[in-house]
């Protein structure tokens, strides 16, 4: 079952913050975040493992709330280069190794 991402799209000005959420109705083992620019392959950003661990990458960080089966991606002081579509990929507890991807969040950062 596909995880639910929200919002579907967001438009920001440079320097503003954004949060992208990824929710699952099934127990999660891990959440993997990717960014895809137009015409390019998805690029791995970070992985969140079961346990509520929070990770960071430049000004992009993420958290994993095991109780809510939800992960959130935080983009702080956004830059033009952050524009793209963000996908969460989920691995479910006790299931096979393939990721199930959300529908994506299109992020546009304007100057």
């Amino acid at each position: 079952q596909q995880p639910v991402q929200s919002p579907q799209a967001v438009i920001l000005r440079e320097g503003e913050d954004a949060v992208i959420n990824c929710s699952s109705s099934k127990a999660l083992y891990s959440v993997h975040w990717y960014r895809q620019k137009h015409g390019e392959a998805p690029v791995f950003l970070m992985i969140l493992l079961k346990g509520g661990e929070q990770k960071g990458h430049e000004k992009i960080s993420a958290s994993f709330n095991e109780k809510k089966q939800q992960s959130s991606l935080y983009l702080t002081a956004s830059q033009l280069s952050y524009s793209g579509t963000y996908f969460c990929g989920t691995l479910y507890s006790g299931s096979a190794r393939q990721l199930t991807f959300g529908s994506g969040t299109q992020l546009t950062v304007l100057p």
Binding site: Q2, H32, Y34, E40, A41, P42, V43, F44, I47, F87, G89, A96, R97, Q98, L99, T100, F101, G102, S103, G104
Partner: protein, 113 residues
């Protein structure tokens, strides 16, 4: 991480023909996957390519339409058979190294006329 190449990068094909897409990784990986991505859409898993055995297909995808080979730990092929315009899409190979995440190849952009 992993360096992944795909061939061809793009192609335009006629209805009823077949196209084989190659995926090559620079190091041995535990798992290889094939995804399809329609323009503006998410990534849909076609199948897991298993080394030395038949691929594992997801619901809605069958071996006769999408035969897959994986002769070793660094190479896989996906064939799109008897193509129709509905097969026009981006086909992506991805790999997982033991204990890591999935990394994606650059994709093959297919247009069927």
């Amino acid at each position: 991480s992993a360096v992944i190449s795909q061939k061809p990068s793009r192609d335009i094909c006629q209805r009823g023909t077949s196209l084989t897409i190659q995926c090559q990784v620079d190091s041995q990986v535990t798992m290889m996957f094939w995804y399809r991505q329609q323009p503006g859409q998410s990534l849909t898993l076609i199948a897991t390519a298993n080394q030395g055995s038949e691929a594992t297909y997801e619901s809605g995808f069958v071996i006769d339409k999408f035969p897959i080979s994986r002769p070793n730990l660094t190479f896989s092929t996906l064939t799109v058979s008897n193509m129709s315009p509905e097969d026009s899409s981006i086909y992506l190979c991805s790999v997982e190294k033991a204990g890591e995440t999935q990394y994606f190849g650059p994709g093959t952009r297919l247009l069927v006329l």
